[in-house]
């Protein structure tokens, strides 16, 4: 499978995430769009790791472990994303408790 297909798919998913962040006002949906962007990057990292593995195989590397790093990075991104979601949702719940809304337009206290 040409790597360009995977790059185009990741670009599409990432830009859909960006559009979601820009067009929605619900803080939870914005957060979900950020997760979508993280997943687009993960998919690209896995595709690149497999591309690297194929290139190393064609170049005569017989160990067969080239490209392992990329998949481990994806694993660590998932770890960080899980921690981020738990803290972020706690912040959103706290915000809902204080202003009884998840609308990001009401989060303008730093302005005054």
């Amino acid at each position: 499978m040409p790597i360009n297909n995977y790059i185009l798919l990741s670009i599409a998913l990432f830009c859909i995430g960006i559009v979601g962040v820009l067009t929605r006002r619900n803080a939870i949906i914005i957060f979900m769009c950020i997760e979508l962007m993280l997943n687009a990057v993960n998919l690209l990292l896995v595709a690149f790791s497999k591309m690297h593995a194929k290139a190393a195989l064609l170049a005569g590397d017989i160990s067969g472990t080239a490209g392992t790093d990329g998949q481990l990075f994806v694993f660590f991104i998932m770890v960080v994303a899980a921690a981020e979601v738990s803290v972020g949702l706690a912040i959103i719940v706290m915000m809902y408790r204080n202003i009884h809304s998840v609308d990001v337009n009401f989060l303008n206290r730093l302005k005054h």
């Binding site: 499978m1 040409p2 790597i3 297909n5 790059i7 185009l8 798919l9 670009i11 830009c15 960006i18 559009v19 979601g20 820009l22 067009t23 929605r24 619900n26 939870i28 957060f31 979900m32 769009c33 997760e35 979508l36 997943n39 993960n42 998919l43 896995v46 595709a47 790791s49 497999k50 591309m51 593995a53 195989l57 067969g64 472990t65 080239a66 490209g67 392992t68 998949q71 481990l72 694993f75 660590f76 998932m78 770890v79 960080v80 994303a81 899980a82 921690a83 981020e84 738990s86 803290v87 949702l89 706690a90 912040i91 959103i92 719940v93 706290m94 809902y96 408790r97 998840v102 337009n105």
Partner: protein, 166 residues
Amino acid sequence: MNIIQILFWFLSVVAIFSALMVITSKNPVYSVLWLIVTFFSISGHYILLNAQFLAIVNVIVYAGAIMVLFLFVIMLMNLNKETEPQKNRWLKMAGAVAGGCLMLVFVAALKDAGLKDQEAMVNEGDIGLIKNLGKELFTTYVVPFEISSILFLSAMVGAVVIGKKE
């Protein structure tokens, strides 16, 4: 067109369609459900790339744990179509145009990248199997692995402290 290409295009169409439904659904609960569909199709891509460990982790962590957390919070707040805040039409259009411009820039950069003849290894190769990944994770990357456990601990403490009623 062999079975792998058919699966690739099918999964890509499902992923992009459900991602679009995430950002266009009025009801937040539907958005979460569509996002789960997106994550499953991305897991399908991982299986197609023979990254089986990541496919399973993606299903368990994202589709299992994180999305349940989102769904739980949305249901706790009783959000639905009526309470959903809407941006006005011009702002939405501006956001869509900005995202489209970014996509244009990315695609234009890709045309110049010179990756035309590179291929990803599909449905073969064993770097994505748990034997290889586990060996690498517990030798070369053992320090980041331990640090991530501290990250989890601090995230847990932080979530409890932030979510606690004062």
